[in-house]
């Protein structure tokens, strides 16, 4: 995998965040598999992406639709963008296909209707829950929780950074490559426990979006000293 690009699945990948990431990785030359519980929904998302890529003049496009489990099986790296309500059940359904792989967990444990209020789960974070469910044989890496889907959907440059948490440095480094391929800076941000900070920050950003009428993200400062 050092020479060729890994195949990326996006489980629950038909929403704004999933298709936003898909667009960027496809444009960077990755093969992407859009997964959904409904193959039909996944196929619709893929058709939309193909149309958009044609509009954007992207010549080489590699994207496919599959059921979530098949997507997870066919991929080298599995990204998951599902609402927190489907987090546990989705993890359980794809767990058998994840042995030895990286799971990129993008889940934010929002509790509607107060999504601008931090309300973290007892276990600490969605990332920790995922690592517990999947066990040591899967490297859970949490990332992308603070990126506005709105910005990913668009083709132009992104001004926000991505904090990457996970227990293995090498797994984090592979995800940082994917962050960079999507046009952002990625940072090693510590163990999977630290996902709590990043996930909680999403509610703060939702609050700021409402307060200041924007699509806020965060950026790391003070690096050059």
């Amino acid at each position: 995998m050092s020479e060729t690009k890994p195949i990326i699945a996006i489980v629950g990948g038909t929403g704004d965040l999933g298709t936003g990431l898909a667009r960027r990785w496809i444009q960077a030359g990755y093969k992407v598999i859009i997964g959904s519980r409904s193959l039909e929904k996944a196929q619709t998302a893929v058709n939309d992406i193909n149309s958009l890529m044609e509009e954007r003049g992207v010549v080489s496009v590699s994207v496919e639709a599959m059921a979530n489990e098949d997507a997870a099986k066919a991929a080298d790296i599995v990204t998951m963008t599902v609402p927190f309500g489907h987090h546990q059940s989705t993890l359980e359904s794809i767990k058998p296909m994840l042995a030895g792989k990286i799971l990129v967990d993008v889940t934010v444990p929002l509790v509607p209707p107060k999504v601008a209020r931090v309300q973290m789960p007892e276990q600490g974070s969605a990332g920790q829950i995922a690592q517990e469910i999947l066990g040591e044989d899967v490297n859970v890496v949490s990332a992308f929780q603070n990126v506005a889907a709105h910005h990913l959907q668009e083709g132009h440059e992104l001004s926000c950074d991505v904090l990457v948490c996970g227990n293995k440095k090498d797994a984090r480094a592979q995800v940082i490559e994917l962050v960079e391929a999507a046009g952002m800076r990625g940072f090693h941000a510590g163990s999977i426990n630290n996902a709590a900070a990043v996930e909680a920050m999403t509610s703060v950003l939702i609050f700021i979006n409402k307060q200041y009428k924007c699509h806020a993200g965060i950026s790391i400062t003070g690096l050059d000293e």
Copy 2:
């Protein structure tokens, strides 16, 4: 208080963070009271600040040393910069002096030795603990947890933003004024529950500091859209 500047106490204000904030507020023309459990320690900190202000050519300097309780009593706005281990006991000792005031809680619930690992308290955050202990008659506003003391100590411009959490918008707005007086941008970041995100982020920044050899902070992006 609308015309004249509020008097600011910094309880537990002899450390790097407390004196860093003091320097900036004094230079902005505020009267600052440095509080400590030991009046002697507070006096030493005040002497150091006076020397530094002379070095920097600051003409009008208003700073005084007091025991924590007296500092809290004499001030309009009370800032607290104590280690998490002294958070509860300090709050209890100054509670009688805080009725009707704003308490600016800068506390981060770090659990040594693993300070680069997010380990939040059961109650959610230090800010929520403070609001619980002090009751509805005190407006707890959490702020400044992500600012490197190293940068505050210096006189020059700061590139990091401050997320300001608290249950009352007006109280947050008063603290945002203090953030701006200290040379940074301050943002309304939601209720005191949201302090959890900002406090947890400090451990992530400590991790980044070690990993990338820097004094990192965060900045809000995506505002101008």
